[in-house]
């Protein structure tokens, strides 16, 4: 039995050491920008790789994804491309399988920033640095024919609801609906179950709903009235770009750039380009859910 016990202790030690290391922030201090002689960056900050803005990406249409040539596109993609131009950086996409990989990429210093309709929350603000809100995004309840119209209805009719991991509202719905709430890997899977009859409704972001309607028929989404039992229904989620805690200069620069993009109408344009409500461009005061 000794070798097994030794393994267990060694394993615990390795794991602890490794995650302790991961607790700390990333490093690297290459100065960006001054590459091309004609380009003067608007702000000074360092990036993981000199002259490049490394974006960890788990593709999520329409927020951020790549086109067939590998360029970063989507609402956030377009905005970042503009920002990269201003800061004299080239965008380098680091494709990864999911947020489970993109967030650690930023935390461990392999990427400067990650994207994809990530909502601001207090918990997340503690372990990464979040930029100011870029646009807002609300909660939608999708059902066949749009018959489910409120959170109260879910409770009183004992309906089965599906959602995807990472939704701001997951914990609240879990508490509220118990076993009637099921978590899927992606909201597309949840929608498949909606059509197979295993669910009565699916909760998703309005961005997700926008991506959805293009491929699925017979379902409709409704933005439910605010319900105090689900915090996210009372205040819209605000999309942000998480960066590493040890690079506040990058965040300051990004915040300034975001502000400029908003006042020039670029955010509204980007939203409209992807068929979204231009009103989302004004998220209001930064809040942390």
């Amino acid at each position: 039995m000794k070798p097994a016990k030794l393994s267990a202790v060694a394993l615990a030690a390795v794991m602890a050491a490794v995650t302790l290391g991961a607790c700390g922030s990333g490093d690297s201090a290459s100065t960006a920008g001054a590459g091309a002689a004609e380009c003067t960056p608007r702000h000074q900050f360092s990036t993981v790789s000199e002259g490049e803005l490394t974006v960890a990406l788990a593709p999520y249409e329409p927020a951020a994804y790549t086109d067939s040539s590998g360029n970063l596109v989507g609402i956030e993609g377009e905005l970042l491309r503009q920002i990269a131009e201003w800061e004299c950086l080239e965008i380098k996409v680091l494709p990864l399988g999911s947020y489970a990989a993109t967030i650690p990429a930023v935390q461990s210093g392999r990427a400067d920033i990650t994207v994809g309709d990530i909502y601001r929350t207090a918990e997340r603000a503690a372990v990464t640095t979040l930029t100011d809100p870029i646009y807002k995004d609300a909660l939608e309840i999708v059902s066949k024919g749009g018959t489910v119209t409120s959170i109260q209805q879910l409770v009183s009719d004992n309906l089965r609801l599906g959602g995807s991991t990472g939704g701001l509202w997951d914990d609240d719905f879990q508490k509220l609906l118990g076993d009637n709430f099921k978590l899927y890997q992606t909201f597309q899977d949840a929608v498949q179950d909606l059509q197979a009859g295993r669910l009565d409704a699916v909760v998703m972001s309005s961005l997700g709903y926008n991506a959805l309607t293009a491929g699925v028929s017979g379902v409709a989404g409704v933005m439910p009235p605010a319900d105090s039992r689900v915090t996210a229904s009372t205040a819209p989620g605000q999309a942000t770009w998480p960066t590493n805690n040890s690079n506040p200069e990058l965040t300051t620069a990004l915040n300034a750039d975001i502000s400029e993009l908003r006042s020039s109408g670029a955010i509204t344009e980007a939203l409209e380009k992807y068929d979204l409500d231009p009103e989302l461009a004004d998220p209001g005061e930064p809040n942390l859910l």
């Binding site: 039995m1 070798p3 097994a4 393994s7 267990a8 394993l11 615990a12 794991m15 602890a16 490794v18 995650t19 302790l20 991961a22 607790c23 700390g24 947020y99 489970a100 990989a101 967030i103 650690p104 935390q107 461990s108 929350t121 918990e123 997340r124 372990v127 990464t128 599906g162 991991t165 990472g166 701001l168 997951d170 914990d171 099921k182 978590l183 899927y184 890997q185 899977d189 949840a190 498949q192 179950d193 197979a196 009859g197 295993r198 998480p242």
Partner: protein, 223 residues
């Protein structure tokens, strides 16, 4: 930071433990259904009848060649299209059983083949029918030889249950990803999940080694 990690883990361990319980149940039930099927397939593969042999080999190769991820998706999302709608847990059990049957059929087959030929001959000489020969002489000895590799396979299947989160089974990995998504503490929660898997697999592996030694002693004495 060290205190922070333990604090994080203390908060995460509750939901993770619930997930672990689901993972364990999945593995046990899936194996309970799959192992007998694997034995049957092994006997079928070794049979004299050509069509039976080919059918069994076909089933084994297709099931062995398909990734578990895909079997899960096909059983859960695909079957409803032919009006078989299973719950997440049941679909996961069915998938595990199918994979188990395919892989263990090979293990059983090796075990059965490793039974000394003398045993077959002696059984024939004693006038036993094929069914009795299998039942009382070959299969018991074959199973005993196959036990260590079967147990090792069971350990791998237990780890394989982590894929069930793709069909919305709230097992250990699903819980870990959920916590990671809301807290962004992916590294911490995934390493805790890894430790919890190891907490089951490491002692099991040690146990299998002990079992191998005991069984080996028996064989050496007989030889």
């Amino acid at each position: 930071m060290g205190g922070g990690l333990l604090h994080d883990w203390a908060q995460q361990i509750g939901p993770l433990a619930q997930g672990l319980w689901v993972s364990a149940r999945l593995a046990v039930v899936g194996l309970a259904v799959g192992l007998p099927l694997g034995l049957l397939l092994a006997i079928g593969v070794g049979s004299k009848g050509r069509s039976l042999r080919w059918a069994c080999v076909g089933i084994v190769e297709i099931a062995r060649g398909t990734p578990m991820l895909v079997v899960l998706q096909l059983v859960y999302f695909g079957l409803p299209q032919v009006n078989i709608t299973l719950s997440s847990f049941v679909a996961a059990v069915v998938s595990i059983a199918v994979i188990t049957a395919a892989y263990t059929s090979e293990i059983f087959r090796s075990g059965l083949a490793a039974v000394p030929h003398g045993q077959q001959d002696a059984a024939r000489a004693l006038g036993l029918r094929t069914a009795d020969r299998l039942r009382y002489v070959i299969v018991p000895q074959g199973i005993r030889i196959a036990i260590p590799p079967l147990l090792n396979f069971a350990i791998l299947i237990f780890q394989g249950t982590s894929l069930a989160f793709t069909i919305a089974v709230p097992e250990l990995m699903a819980q870990a990803y959920g916590i990671g998504a809301s807290t962004f503490l992916y590294m911490q929660v995934l390493s805790l999940a890894g430790l919890m898997y190891a907490a089951i697999t490491l002692p099991s592996a040690a146990g299998v080694r002990l079992l191998e030694k005991r069984l080996g002693r028996h064989v050496a004495a007989a030889a």
